[in-house]
Symmetry: C2
Subunit: 493 residues, 2 copies
């Protein structure tokens, strides 16, 4: 019995949570109530009822149907309803007049056939890609056509019926739209804006979390199992990042609603570029895929020992901090509708990335120089590797030229990469080169365990790829900032 | 003028393409037309009209509203409409009777207030997570309540009005459902089934495409740019794989429609596990993320030279073929509703993965043994690396113990990994070990250019991670095969 009590208690708690979660819900519900109550006044008082007659119930239906959560969606519905209804009405009257004048036998045939035809045509047209968003309008058109032509056939005066209904439908729709817009309006554009800004923060959080996990000392790594699909208990941002990967359709819906909204709040100029928001979302998702790849390294079943993971610790930490800072700044810039990303941020990220790449590069040359030596040694090897040693004591001179070639190829690509990022022009990067040498020397000592370094570079070079994807992100946000006329800061790109 | 001609010609062509694309669309449109025509017969003939009266228009409205593309969605709508309408109707009659008996002044107040309350309550409830799928039902309930109580207030006989309307609404809905189910029905379950099977193929295709690209000789690699978000022209499967990443909500919608469908076609037993399809889709998407990560390596801006990319060519090719074969078999099994994945497939994948891992492992020991030697050499170094060589001629004895420790840690993890996959028990893996040795020796020769090998292992060990993710995929499909009572083959797991 206490189990059942417990269960009902949990249920009550979840209801309470639901109520507390979002005040917008209560407001929305009260707004629907208000719209219905306002329209119902028409029917309850005697005077308006005598003007409109029983057709007034259409006003209530219309008010309920048109009322959607965001302003844009409501406008979209209202317009669909108005346009679909009117066009269908005009067509219906034309067909009804023709049918009336065609005689007693032909009339029902014309009426029935026209309904069939309209049903087929509207149902077929609404599947056309560009018209899918007007699906509701086609449905309304079909309904209106059928209603008007049937009433016309039965009652005989289609124009009167139609005009009376049109008035009450328009009245109901207008009340809905007015209530929706005038009392705490929920703008789809505002929601889209907030959603996108939140996504930027989630990617940045998830990246930092992942790097922290990777550089964490000796904790038991969770394995890639079914659980990793739902997220890890100690990584709250992972789940948010995962939800971004599925957020495409949500952004699409909000953007297509937002297009119907008039300039409002902070989005004051006409034809605000809402579709660019969808593009920014897509590029951001592309970065999120790379963050997911980094996560898969941090949770991989083959793990580099902690001692080796921290070889590039300071470099990785630095680049990660700068990447997430840039992502956060971009998010904040969109949020505040200004463009404040400074040259210095990109320069700093560039120099950190260069340092990370240089470390990787020195690691290669280090391995190379050590393998240039003759591997045949008189010293007895004490480790397990001894067993395999016998395989490899062929001299290395043969492969030397080949090796040098490959090495140069890599060097060239590495350097090209270093100097080609970012694509926009930046100030020449100057740093105390002596200090850098010391840093490198320190790292070189740590690099003595070369055996597992190749595993290490997995994470590191995936990281460099993530940095490469930040570049298009900056470009697309910059494009948005121009299209949406963001205020520039004084000292910017 | 020819430009305008050209444009209209293109438009006509795209309309033709749209028409040819999918015969299901024509069938759907004709079905809607048929349903509307059938219902309209009621109004066109004299006899039924005299029974139902003007309320017959509700039958047409109801038929149009209920008609959805899949059977499940239609059932869902019909049930929502029936249940929402009836419950609201009963409540409306009760309130109307109370209002009638409460006197002339209180009546409009009660009616108006109750409409407001019902509007607030239904709008609030439909936002509760578990009730979102019944959104339409709540809307219908509110509409029905308002209509009935207003008619009751104005006409005075709510029960009669309600019953007449209920009959005609039920009739319209029934015609819709019958037409939808009996003539070329489109089952949401069937669509979900096909969609999931297609996704399996897309992931397998995309994987093979990506490996082929990676092992391709010297072609210009496309860069990670804005273009890569839309896909690459020479990789048709990439785009399909990308679309899988966004397919979550589509599968959700289809599964929630499919739940409403009765046993049909091949899905004969009651409570077919449609929700398991969504789970399988989620695990498959998890594999697709890893395939995307592999793609990002194949298109990375820092590329390993071709000569080195092909070091593990045969192993990578083999594992890739086997992974995609298993994914394809799983997809085909779901398609044919049987369970035919044989032990031998898993054993073969296991042995190939083991071979790939062994190659990686030997690479490590190879590097290790070569770095165990003294790096100080009298031979003059001719390469660019010479410059950096001077940094590293400290003796290695100091780091030796440390190194050996790390090495053993890696070895242990590697071996544990090799022997722990797959998690299900398999027959002991036996192979001609002499042949394997020869293969390894051949590889060892190719491994002479160690400098860039660490980059190589990026791809390779990401690949091993993908293999690790195939394990949960097999499990979740196996679970589905048990829940859906797939026919087992004779010789299976």
């Amino acid at each position: 019995k206490s189990g059942a009590n417990n269960k009902s208690w949990l249920w009550i708690q979840s209801v309470c949570d639901f109520c507390k979660e979002d005040a917008g819900r209560e407001i929305f519900a009260l707004k629907v109530g208000l719209a219905v109550a306002l329209v119902s006044l028409l029917t309850l008082f005697e005077a308006p009822y005598q003007v409109f007659g029983p057709n007034i119930v259409w006003a209530i239906l219309s008010a309920i149907i048109v009322f959607e959560d965001t302003v844009g969606a409501t406008f979209n519905r209202a317009l669909n309803r108005a346009l679909g209804g009117s066009l269908a009405g005009i067509l219906a009257i034309a067909v009804a007049q023709t049918a009336l004048s065609s005689g007693h036998v032909a009339e029902p045939i014309i009426v029935g056939l026209s309904m069939f035809m309209i049903a087929v045509i509207t149902s077929y047209m609404k599947m056309w890609q560009a018209l899918v968003q007007y699906e509701y309008g086609f449905r309304v058109a079909l309904q209106s056509y059928c209603l008007i032509i049937v009433s016309g056939y039965r009652i005989g005066n289609p124009i009167n019926t139609m005009i009376q209904r049109l008035y009450s439908i328009a009245f109901g729709g207008m009340v809905s739209v007015l209530v929706n817009v005038s009392i705490f309006p929920m703008w789809a554009g505002e929601q889209l804006h907030k959603e996108l800004v939140k996504d930027f923060d989630s990617v940045a959080d998830s990246l930092q979390e992942c790097v922290k996990k990777y550089l964490e000392c000796g904790s038991e790594k969770s394995k890639i199992t079914m659980a990793s699909i739902d997220g890890f208990p100690d990584e709250p941002a992972y789940e948010r990042c995962l939800s971004i990967l599925n957020s495409g359709s949500k952004l699409d819906t909000l953007a297509s609603s937002a297009k119907w909204e008039p300039p409002h709040g902070r989005f004051l100029h006409i034809s605000y570029p809402w579709s660019q928001y969808v593009k920014v979302g897509a590029v951001l998702r592309h970065c999120a895929y790379q963050v997911m790849a980094l996560h898969s390294f941090a949770h991989a079943q083959i793990q580099v020992p902690y001692k080796l993971r921290v070889v590039f610790q300071s470099e990785i930490q630095e680049v990660s901090n700068q990447v997430s800072e840039i992502i956060r700044i971009l998010g904040r810039d969109i949020n505040h509708m200004k463009w404040s990303l400074k040259m210095s941020h990109i320069t700093r990220l560039r120099s950190s990335t260069k340092r990370l790449q240089t470390s990787l590069y020195f690691q290669y040359s280090y391995i190379l120089t050590s393998t240039f030596e003759s591997p045949v040694s008189d010293k007895p090897l004490k480790s397990f590797a001894n067993i395999w040693h016998t395989f490899y004591h062929t001299p290395y001179e043969k492969g030397f030229i080949e090796q040098t070639k490959c090495y140069h190829e890599i060097t060239r690509k590495q350097l090209r990469r270093v100097y080609s990022w970012p694509s926009r022009e930046v100030d020449a990067f100057e740093e105390d080169s002596e200090k850098r040498m010391n840093l490198l020397l320190r790292n070189m000592k740590a690099l003595e365990s070369t055996a597992t370094l190749s595993l290490l570079t997995n994470f590191t070079s995936s990281f460099v790829e993530l940095v490469a994807r930040v570049d298009p992100l900056i470009n697309v946000v910059n494009e948005l900032s121009k299209m949406a006329k963001f205020k520039p800061d004084d000292d910017v790109l």
